[in-house]
Symmetry: C2
């Protein structure tokens, strides 16, 4: 029997035909937002499947979430169906890691105020002594060593940085990167060695406010902080005061404390309560993470890889551990 894959929505922004061309030709694709009668799909591609969708097909073996992450409702729902595996896509890890480096370089070199001054024909900051620091040879501590943290570590190593990381279950890291991986509990001892702290953590009860005044004060004076995880992992007022005092030389964030809730609000939603946007030594990015022009192409390639593996009877990559949630 050929593999039957049902899509809640089979549409990839002009790349749908290319997606189909990447699939093993015998795979049967169906699409629809209503549960089909006599459902017999083997795989369901659906970002938030309901219980009805899971139970409708006696053949169902796997759910694929066509992006990174798994929502909490899906995670708890799927715990009820241990015979159905859940998979997601990690196609945008490198995109997000590159965003982290964009913020890191801009922060380390004080790019934005110097760009803005030169646009006003003002060269004076150039003559105020060095406005940047070297990154090569500095020590980076990455909090969260999942797919994105690992992609980030690889790039940091390529730039000649020394990399440490924390991971809830460090023993599950079986890769070969030259990274010292520690359990989360080691954070206090690691911070004094963090010239650069990079946060790639999800927001959970454990991570909310994880980095506050005490933690920043354990870092070397003049260090850098980059957040590409979730805003509230870092206490925004602690961040603000550390940037004002110079305890942090500079910082950058792609993730925020407030997001626009309506289309109209997009034009005027302060991303934080603390006036971070007033600071010259802070770099702001409006939660772009993996959003690059290539992302839809990356998505179809990653998704085709999963489906072809299933069709060929191979293990389907990117299986989510529903206990860990990633």
């Amino acid at each position: 029997m050929p593999l039957h894959v049902h899509f809640y929505r089979l549409s990839f922004e002009g790349l749908t035909e290319e997606f189909k061309s990447l699939l093993d030709p015998e795979i049967v694709l169906t699409e629809g937002r209503e549960i089909p009668p006599k459902a017999n799909y083997d795989i369901l591609v659906n970002p938030s499947p309901s219980r009805e969708w899971i139970e409708a097909s006696p053949n169902l073996k796997a759910i694929i979430i066509p992006w990174a992450g798994v929502s909490e409702p899906t995670r708890t729902l799927m715990l009820d169906y241990p015979e159905v595996s859940v998979h997601n896509l990690h196609h945008n890890n490198v995109n997000t890691a590159e965003m982290a480096l964009t913020l890191l370089f801009a922060a380390a070199k004080r790019l934005i105020p110097m760009d803005q001054a030169l646009r006003r024909n003002d060269w004076r900051p150039r003559y105020d002594g060095p406005q940047g620091i070297l990154l090569q040879g500095k020590r980076v501590l990455i909090l969260g060593f999942g797919e994105i943290g690992q992609a980030l570590a690889k790039l940091c190593l390529g730039l000649g940085l020394h990399v440490m990381a924390t991971k809830k279950h460090p023993e599950t890291y079986t890769g070969t990167l030259d990274v010292a991986v520690y359990p989360d509990s080691q954070l206090p001892e690691l911070l004094p060695a963090a010239d650069v702290l990079m946060i790639a953590l999800p927001l959970t009860a454990e991570t909310e406010g994880l980095i506050g005044e005490a933690e920043i004060n354990r870092m070397p004076k003049g260090s850098l902080l980059i957040n590409i995880g979730r805003g509230p992992v870092v206490d925004q007022w602690a961040l603000y005061h550390a940037l004002k005092s110079g305890q942090l030389r500079a910082a950058g964030s792609d993730v925020w404390y407030h997001y626009p809730e309506t289309r109209e609000a997009r034009a005027n939603t302060p991303p934080s309560d603390a006036p971070l946007g007033e600071l010259e030594n802070f770099v702001l990015s409006p939660h772009r993470g993996g959003m690059v022009e290539e992302v839809e192409h990356q998505r179809i390639v990653a998704l085709a890889r999963l489906l072809n593996a299933a069709n060929r009877g191979q293990p389907i990559p990117n299986k989510v551990d529903l206990q860990l949630g990633y």
Copy 2:
């Protein structure tokens, strides 16, 4: 006889004692801006020595220029003294390469306009589709494969870019980087494969205006251009029009067409005739190159390495080829 080194000025911004501690203890150091009577220095550390300084000491074996580059007057002067070798310092190569990456990431991810918008609480650019491109896997062409070009190539390789380079004498490259090195004459054939063009060339009669409208039009539409060499290597109006038209997606420059000539002029000197500073897809940096906080420390380490080599009878590193000028 111990090595005798004369410094035109022996002062390294608070690091002079550390510099001395790095030297072999028997090295004799003298300092002065006047030629000493009975001069007998073996090495002269002087950024622009005169003929009198060269001829004063019968022992003179080498001149060290305590930074990168050799001025044209010094180069032509020293051609008259083939028995005196000329050396310079390459301690800021990585600093300059990191500045190039800072501009590259900011340009590729459209960092500056999105930072500026979010400072005004404006999230709208986030919803206009992807505002950046992925760098990993793109093809970089580095023009000028000297010390800085090679440092840049190494970092680009570490980020997963494919690297090509041009060099006046490609056969002189004996390194091991995974870079395809071509002679300068191949430029027209290489440009169509340059997703990113990075310029690390000095300004010479041959390089002035090297990149103009015709060259930019040979690059793939939507490519990137980064200049850390010298401004006039790139025709400024060709750059401006290509950024306006979208032939170049974005660009960045650390080097310029006009520099402030007096202290007063620093507050208001347009860096170019073309209004590059009006463009959202252009990133400006006021010729900072290797200026990072670590640079003076890097300088004393590099200089001590050269002097200790001379003292130990080893070849002195970083010998300048006076015919090539670098």
